[in-house]
């Protein structure tokens, strides 16, 4: 047995269906174990296809704590390689994104093709002909894509991505409708760090309960329509467990399917945009774009590291047991009107990022969770909100009200399954 394998009895002491032990935020040994048992045994999101549209485009990312390169080769195939030279372990790329024809290690100059194969070894004579280059490609992960979302896994025998996403696929498709008739593309990102465990952020993506309180200052600063639309505790939303740790929190039921209700009145806040768009587009196109510009009315939490949140991607990157990086990736309409993409940028800047009107308040309370979790380590973190009225639907999914902790229960159940395996 792997020494990191915690016996299930020990795991029962850590995670129950309606609660989790405080040490899940604070125990360095658990962190080390989950970086392998969770992140190296599941599908992990690494990129959106629009980040690497052309052959040679690459970005760097991480799977758990392992640095990886996501790259599109000459034939258009996406590869995910561990960013580690096969000679003596130096990274072969330290640029966050770019375009290249090969990766050359800066230490002794070993060079790798985009598909990871080892092409060149300087002063090869020194190996007297017994270095078989075919044996030393960059270590590659298995890669699969769903609707533009690129995932990778170290596991060759894991279920296909499409099965892993399962009940979440329908929600991904709905999320991508915010292109308003255009393909979705990324348009920049905010990166910020908070001194707390990654699961605190994971929980938050389906936590409607905190919104009216933590985001009071955002709601005050927002226009009255925006404030009304974010009155999510009172709009008949719900949270649903989608299986495999994924969940969706529907905050604004009227914004689930952006291709419906196209004849609804255009909100006051988008009237200027609609007028500008109307100069070059027919009414139906204007309505589609305007309806899509603010994003969807739900947060989709894909275990373990991606959130498709309203109008952006939220990417989780654990750094240490008490240190986490969060990326909020702004989305736009590829080939869409510049005015609409600008509107999306301004909406993103308003809430997100280290200087936004929302994210810093989130980061502050997560920091407080990590600090508070140093006390009462034997106590439980409660995840039972909305459990008593949770219903099991025909498709087997569990659903409860919008502020229920159903999504967190789903995530911790998946965490436990992976930690047990």
């Amino acid at each position: 047995m792997d020494t990191l394998t915690a016996p299930s009895l020990a795991l029962d002491a850590l995670v129950q269906p309606d609660r989790a032990r405080t040490t899940l935020y604070t125990d360095p040994a658990l962190f080390e174990a989950e970086m392998k048992k969770v992140f190296e045994n599941t599908w992990v999101w690494v990129a959106h296809a629009s980040e690497i549209p052309r052959p040679g485009d690459f970005k760097t990312a991480q799977v758990g704590l392992q640095p990886v390169i996501v790259v599109r080769d000459r034939k258009g195939v996406v590869h995910v390689h561990v960013n580690r030279c096969r000679h003596r372990a130096a990274t072969v790329c330290e640029v966050s994104k770019g375009k290249t024809s090969s990766f050359v290690c800066p230490y002794h100059g070993w060079s790798y093709a985009l598909d990871g194969s080892l092409r060149g070894v300087p002063y090869e004579k020194g190996y007297d002909g017994d270095l078989d280059k075919s044996q030393y490609p960059l270590l590659s992960l298995r890669v699969e894509e769903y609707n533009g979302l690129i995932f990778a896994t170290f596991r060759r025998d894991l279920m296909p991505l499409s099965d892993f996403l399962g009940g979440a696929r329908k929600w991904i498709d709905l999320f991508m409708k915010q292109g308003g008739g255009f393909p979705i593309r990324t348009q920049g990102e905010h990166r910020f760090r908070f001194p707390g465990n990654w699961k605190i952020q994971l929980e938050n993506t389906t936590d409607a309960y905190h919104f009216p309180l933590v985001h009071k200052s955002f709601l005050t600063a927002a226009d009255s329509e925006t404030e009304e639309s974010w009155d999510i505790m009172n709009k008949g939303g719900y949270v649903e467990d989608l299986g495999n740790g994924h969940s969706v929190m529907v905050m604004m039921p009227e914004l689930v399917d952006l291709e419906e209700n196209l004849d609804a009145p255009i909100p006051e806040k988008f009237k200027a945009l609609a007028a500008e768009l109307a100069e070059e587009h027919d009414e139906m196109t204007v309505r589609r774009i305007v309806r899509a510009v603010g994003g969807v009315g739900f947060n989709l939490n894909l275990f373990p590291n991606l959130g498709c949140s309203a109008a952006f991607f939220r990417v989780l990157q654990p750094i240490a047991v008490d240190d986490t990086e969060v990326r909020h990736v702004a989305l736009g309409m590829e080939g869409g009107p510049a005015a609409a993409n600008r509107e999306r940028l301004r909406i993103h800047e308003f809430f997100q990022g280290p200087m936004g009107f929302g994210s810093p308040d989130d980061a502050e309370v997560w920091d407080r969770v990590q600090h508070g979790a140093q006390g009462g380590r034997d106590l439980w973190v409660l995840l039972n909100r909305g459990l008593s009225h949770e219903e099991v639907r025909e498709d087997g999914h569990r659903r409860s009200d919008v502020s229920a902790e159903t999504g967190m229960r789903a995530a911790y159940a998946q965490w436990k399954r992976l930690m047990e395996a």
């Binding site: 510049a338 600008r342 940028l345 308003f350 200087m355 308040d361």
Partner: protein, 164 residues
Amino acid sequence: MDTNMPAIAIDLDEAMRFVWLEADLLDHACYAEWLALWTPGGRYVVPIEPGAEDFENTLNYAYDDHAMRVKRAERLTSGQSVSASPVARTVRLLSRFRLLSAGVEGCELRCAQLLTEYRRGRERMYTADLTFRLVRGADGLRIDRKVIRLINATDALRGIGYIL
């Protein structure tokens, strides 16, 4: 422009004094006075990418017009924001001033800013290049654009719950 005004180009001394005043107002939380330093169309910009120039069509950390500046100031004083209660204390030093261009009606000033923040037991430093576009109005200089280029802007930052 006012015909009584002497046709003398803005010099380094005048520009320096003005941005020092701005720095002092921010460190001492005099937001009403700070808001009055701006032209009506002035922009406060904190870009992400080092080479960014087309701020309007690019994602920034902040891209504030007057209305957004007012909201940002209100957020720091309303007590509603948990990350701004209390607001971080800051001390900023501006130096290495250079006039990139100067005329009678306006100038462009570049300088360095070292800012130390303290809040809840943590002290952090943010270092930035500032570029001001200043214009001369009837009652003195006004900020038409302030661009704050943090040297670590592309890195993962901690929450910045104050005005840079």
